[in-house]
């Protein structure tokens, strides 16, 4: 068997998204682009309705299985979760996405710190792209 076969020949072509997370966790390898794409796919394809409940169940389940590991780096997961949750604004009670993360075993403090980092990076990007003052 050639190198990377488990991922390249099986998990990737057959789009076995959760198995990709398992491979990344086991390999203990940082693959942020892949992780973000997989989390978004799993959230968007969450089965059931209302969509926020379905997505919340997926968030909790994935966090329980993969946090903390390279398959669930908070700075990636939070970004994906809150962006996907924003597509459902008004559909469910406020805070459902955060509750799902906490139910999945993500500590409140870790959540808070990752959010601060995200907010800082967004603010920095906005400032860098803003009009020059002179």
């Amino acid at each position: 068997m050639a190198d990377e076969q488990l991922y390249e020949n099986f998990a990737r072509p057959y789009r076995l998204f959760e198995q990709i997370l398992l491979i990344i966790k086991t390999a203990d390898t940082a693959l942020t682009d892949v992780v973000e794409m997989v989390w978004r796919q799993l959230l968007q394809n969450a089965p059931g309705s209302p969509k926020s409940d379905a997505m919340g169940t997926v968030i909790t389940d994935l966090c329980r299985k993969y946090f903390p590991s390279e398959a669930a780096p908070l700075e990636i997961v939070l970004w994906a979760v809150y962006e996907e949750a924003a597509t459902l604004l008004g559909e469910s009670k406020e805070g459902w996405a955060t509750r799902a993360l906490l139910d999945g075993g993500v500590p409140m403090r870790d959540c808070f710190e990752a959010l601060i980092q995200l907010t800082d990076s967004v603010c920095h990007s906005a400032r860098d792209e803003g009009p020059e003052l002179g």
Partner: protein
Amino acid sequence: MSWTLLHPAMVADDSDVDLQQRSYYLAQALTAAKSAGDLHADDVDFVTGLQEQLDVCYVQLQVAHAIEVHGDIDPETRHAALGELNKQILTLDRVRGIATLTCHG
């Protein structure tokens, strides 16, 4: 030590032993090795190697199961894929090789 005899024969590549059985033998070997006590440096390496193989074997089992229940794979392709997965257990280094790949397409 007698428990070291469990490993190579039972889980050799391309043997008739399927993945499920390999995981069972690996788990048995690991349990026996860990309970042997008084491990030397070589034994610790061996036990670590067994643990890694068992971890990867578990991942392969999950991938195999997902392929088994996948509705969009035709029977012939499924059979071939499962045959490949049953043939050998990958090493953790090989799994780590995914870091050189991307997931687009």
